[in-house]
């Protein structure tokens, strides 16, 4: 097995470890209502990812991944612009639901929309990576 393949394998292990640590610390933070636990876990995860990439010198991004990312971002933008315009029309001409919501509810929806946007990007990224 070449050094590069070996490096990639070790990097992947660190990569997965960083994600597992970050996600579980965020979950622990949510369950214990302690934001610090989540922040520390995510911080350690980021440090692990950066140091692993520097140590093993693995190419994870190149022009093709940039192109995939660009297409995914463009698709997400289109979906959200059309979706938000549809919501606006619905609210303005059919049923005014935004005015009836409390400030906290609007905040919750905005937070959920941001997360949905990230998942939408992940989905499109996976699709274009499969296509390209």
């Amino acid at each position: 097995m070449s050094d590069n393949t070996n490096n990639k394998r070790i990097y992947t292990i660190w990569h997965i470890a960083a994600y597992v640590l970050s996600v579980s610390s965020v979950l622990a933070g949510v369950l214990t209502s302690n934001m610090i636990i989540g922040l520390i876990g995510v911080g350690i995860g980021v440090v692990i990812l950066i140091s692993a990439r520097q140590r093993y010198r693995v190419v994870t991004h190149d022009e093709r991944t940039l192109e995939i990312s660009r297409r995914a971002a463009s698709a997400v933008f289109s979906v959200f612009v059309i979706g938000l315009m549809a919501l606006y029309m619905l609210n303005r001409f059919v049923h005014p639901f935004i005015g009836a919501m409390s400030g906290a509810a609007v905040g919750d929806w905005l937070g959920a929309l941001a997360i949905l946007m990230l998942y939408c990007h992940l989905g499109f990224y996976a699709y274009y990576r499969w296509r390209m």
Partner: protein
């Protein structure tokens, strides 16, 4: 766009992983170019051609040239 990347890679006895490492791209990119699912940038195309010591035209083949309009003759 068709290409002879797989042929040249085989002639140099390289794996996709080896070639990707030498050119600083991912193995998936080399695979996508070979399978004609991705057309590389001009920069990467030149890098590939330089690496194998051939011209871009020897490595990449355009399939449809009829879409190119003939330049008009200057009077």
């Amino acid at each position: 766009m068709k290409n002879k990347l797989k042929v040249f890679r085989a002639m140099h006895d390289l794996t996709q992983e080896d070639l990707a490492e030498k050119l600083g791209v991912t193995r998936q990119t080399i695979n996508a170019i070979e399978k004609q699912r991705y057309n590389p940038s001009l920069e990467l195309a030149f890098k590939l051609a330089d690496f194998f010591g051939v011209t871009i035209e020897e490595l990449f083949i355009r399939e449809h040239r009829e879409d190119l309009a003939e330049p008009e003759a200057v009077q």
